[in-house]
Symmetry: C2
Subunit: 192 residues, 2 copies
DNA sequence: GGGAATAAGTCGGTTAAACAACATAGATTA
DNA sequence: TAATCTATGTTGTTTAACCGACTTATTCCC
């Protein structure tokens, strides 16, 4: 429908996302209308729909973009799921949660579950990719690989989220030391 | 040809002018190409020409926009050419020169005369408008009004420019006290 | 001087954004 | 409850931006 290389398309997309990010700092997700976004982005309301199906799709992309920007280089290029990589993933996830809940007004908690799901899914993807690239013990069975990645991703996310909700902002080394052994043992990678 | 209300037109115009202002801070006017401007503005080179005839026309508009933004409220709404208004005009002109020559790299002096002419012309317009609005002694004769405005504008500009070139950045009160009596006497307004 | 490279303009065809108008669905209020 | 208002999507038409190609300068370098 739209050519993602056309500079007009690129610019309009940027305007929409930037407007939306600004609005999320000011108000809660469900008080923001398409009209608001279009006005702030200085585009026509109808044009919004050639870029996103609705504001949920837009939120989805915002989350993903922000998350991908935070992936550390070592994780990006990791060929094996090592303790070090596991640490990076944990810290990155925690950092993302801190950032996101600071930026967004989550008064209504309307989008909290959406965000949770999205982040878990992205984490899972990253982890699965590392499993497949390296010769992980179970990588022969794609099905099992996916399940292990899902468990690992949600374990890391849930723990980081609980840490955040408990109000602990310091001593992330403790957080790491709780999650990593659990995950690595679970994967049977501890003694590799 | 282009509809100045269409948001696309407004946005493209802003992008072009902003890109040009940025480039003027980095390089001198005659080293800047249309291609440079278009690239920085993230628009197509051909699109530039639907907005401006060439980079001289663009410079012209940049100068005018910047100048108009500096017009003080009292001058904007003046109904009479008083000492106070005259002071404001002098100070504003001097401030403009300071700003402009700080922003633009005038290495080659290629555009200095263009800028000079433009500013004199704008000053003249402002002054003439005040003459016409108030019942200035000579306002009955439109021709004479224009000439008086031209002389006043260029007198103020030249004096402010000489002051700037002499390197005097302080004591603008002295500058004002030199120009104002000259102009007001010249206009025969000193004893009104 | 002569040839290559780069910039300035121009033009016709294509694509995306603007816009107005419409139908629908919730929310608000009389 | 009926009526008004506001947000959501959708559609067809118009317009401006994109793009490639082309013709002229201008500059640069051999």
């Amino acid at each position: 429908m739209v050519n993602q290389i056309d500079p007009r398309v690129v610019r309009t997309g940027q305007l929409i996302r930037e407007a939306f990010r600004e609005l999320l700092r000011l108000r809660s997700f469900d008080t923001i209308t398409i009209k608001d976004i279009a006005e702030r982005a200085t585009i026509n309301r109808a044009t919004f729909y050639t870029h996103y199906e609705d504001k949920y799709a837009l939120l989805d992309e915002i989350i993903e973009q922000a998350f991908r920007k935070m992936i550390p280089g070592p994780v990006e290029h990791a060929l094996e799921f090592t303790d070090e990589i596991c640490n990076e993933l944990i810290l990155m996830t925690y950092r993302y949660i801190l950032d996101f809940y600071e930026i967004c007004r989550m008064d209504s908690k309307s989008i909290a579950t959406l965000v949770d799901e999205k982040i878990k899914q992205l984490l899972q993807q990253i982890i699965e990719r590392i499993f497949v690239k390296g010769d992980h013990p179970h990588s022969a069975d794609p099905n099992q690989t996916t399940i292990l990645a899902a468990m690992t991703g949600s374990a890391i996310y849930s723990a980081a989220y609980q840490w955040f909700k408990a109000g602990e902002k310091e001593r992330t080394d403790l957080l790491v030391d709780i999650i990593r052994p659990y995950v690595m043992n679970g994967l049977g990678l501890h003694y590799i």
